[in-house]
């Protein structure tokens, strides 16, 4: 039994449309007879059959378009010596993958004389921007080349552990860095401490109302009101937002509130919420959430770590009522908030139960006196009593 298949009728042909059969079932055919008409991209072509015999069955009807090689009819050989059945479909080998990728591998760079630094142009430009010495960066690119990522990682590492060398794991390095900063702060900064109790009824009510109107993703935490209150209060006592550097007070025009964020598994960073005084509560919340997420993912930008102008720490959720923190140099003030608790409260001569929080200030006596600190805390309290002004 021989098969008559859709023939390859040209270099570009991948399929053909059967226009008509020139024979009927049962007709005898010999080699070279025209058996059908097929339509290709170029024209209608008369197609010859290559094996003699009798047409047994048509497998495809006129009008059908089929790929080249598709069986179209069965031809029963009459008694003639069984011709070798049509040569089996020869499939070339699956094209073996070329030995090496076509792209030419990078030429190894032979060091000449003083070891020439192997760094990509873009990485060299970024290192200059960050004020990093390329020679201090280890390259992980091909052939040890220093890449953009290597420079970003070096910049990140710089802020977390400024002078630390050789500390094996990240945790130990961070602990060492915090220790250095806190020790220096205590050594150099004459801290004075103030605290006050702030009644939170209106703020908490405002937050509850606000969250009813917001979707889950935009929901606010009360901490964001505390941050905004601190940022706005600084306008009345701006010296608390300044910087102490080589013996002088340098005022900061911008208010970047550093937020103390504990990292899972230990360690602490206090990245800045830039321009906290100018942002709406919703914007502040969005930036705050993003900052926490990136702090924990270890992908903070260097500017966020290096330029808060004041820091706020809130340990209320760990159950502490009052926090007397250590100032982060070169800042000159630190605000702490404890846990919100229900306390007896006198209102118009009545004793009632009200939610309150203890707000504390650690301040650098070289820059401000208790009097200014007190005004600052009072301003925070006043802001929290008018939450819709935040």
């Amino acid at each position: 039994m021989a098969q008559f298949v859709m023939p390859q009728l040209g270099a570009d042909m991948t399929a053909g449309k059967l226009l008509a059969w020139r024979k009927k079932v049962g007709d005898p055919v010999k080699r070279g007879d025209i058996i059908a008409d097929v339509e290709t991209d170029k024209a209608d072509i008369e197609v010859e059959v290559f094996s003699a015999g009798v047409i047994e069955k048509f497998l495809v009807q006129p009008g059908e378009k089929v790929p080249v090689g598709t069986p179209l009819a069965i031809i029963r050989q009459e008694g003639a010596a069984e011709t070798t059945e049509s040569p089996k479909e020869l499939t070339g080998p699956a094209s073996p993958a070329p030995a090496t990728p076509l792209a030419v591998p990078l030429p190894p760079t032979a060091p000449l004389g003083t070891p020439r630094l192997h760094i990509s142009p873009a990485a060299k430009k970024l290192a200059a921007h960050y004020g990093l010495d390329p020679a201090s960066i280890t390259g992980t690119g091909p052939g040890g080349r220093i890449t953009l990522q290597d420079v970003e990682r070096a910049e990140q590492a710089k802020t977390v552990q400024p002078e630390i060398e050789g500390q094996p794991d990240r945790q130990a390095r961070m602990r060492h860095a915090i220790a250095l900063a806190m020790a220096r702060s205590k050594r150099e900064i004459p801290h004075y401490y103030l605290s006050t109790t702030i009644e939170m009824t209106r703020s908490l009510a405002w937050i509850a109302q606000a969250n009813l109107k917001r979707s889950v993703e935009e929901r606010l935490v009360y901490g964001v009101l505390l941050l905004k209150a601190v940022a706005l209060a600084l306008r009345e006592t701006s010296e608390l937002n300044s910087k102490w550097s080589d013996g002088k007070v340098i005022p900061n025009a911008d208010v970047h509130v550093g937020v103390a964020i504990s990292l899972r598994g230990g360690g602490l960073v206090a990245p800045a919420l830039h321009h906290a005084d100018r942002l709406s509560v919703d914007e502040l919340m969005k930036n705050f959430r993003d900052l926490v997420q990136r702090a924990r993912a270890g992908s903070l930008r260097s500017s966020e770590l290096s330029d808060p102008t004041i820091t706020v720490t809130s340990l209320g959720e760990q159950g502490v009522e009052a926090v007397f923190g250590v100032i982060y140099p070169p800042q000159v003030a630190l605000v702490g908030f404890g846990k919100i608790v229900e306390r007896p409260w006198s209102s118009e001569g009545q004793i009632v139960s009200r939610p309150v929080v203890t707000a504390t200030l650690s301040a650098d006596h070289r820059v401000s006196d208790g009097h200014r600190g007190a005004l600052f805390l009072a301003a925070i309290d006043r802001r929290l009593q008018e939450p819709d002004t935040l």
Binding site: A208, N211, L212, V216, E217, R219, V221, Y222, G223, S262, R264, G265, F288, R289, V292, Q293, E317
Partner: protein, 85 residues
């Protein structure tokens, strides 16, 4: 959606917030915040994760109903929309 499936989702949400927590030893009847260190931001992200996974609104007023793993599972199972799924 079965309770077993909900419990599994809650645990997975917790795992995302506190990767270092040992979920296998988690006590379903003890307060969650006693077994793993979560601040208000973590709580918010936990609620958001549940909201995204189960498409259910969780008002702040209901936070007290989510103190333990069992509470969470019961509360979420009882939400009507959930049953309509």
């Amino acid at each position: 959606m079965t309770k077993e499936k909900i419990r599994e989702i809650v645990l997975r949400a917790l795992g995302q917030i506190a990767p270092e927590a040992d979920l296998a030893q988690f006590k379903p009847n003890l307060r969650i915040r006693d077994q793993v260190d979560l601040d208000s931001m973590d709580m918010l992200n936990f609620i958001i994760a549940l909201h995204k996974e189960l498409k259910v609104e969780i008002p702040e007023a209901d936070y007290p109903k989510l103190l333990t793993l069992d509470d969470c599972t019961e509360y979420l199972a009882s939400r009507q929309e959930l049953l309509a799924k």
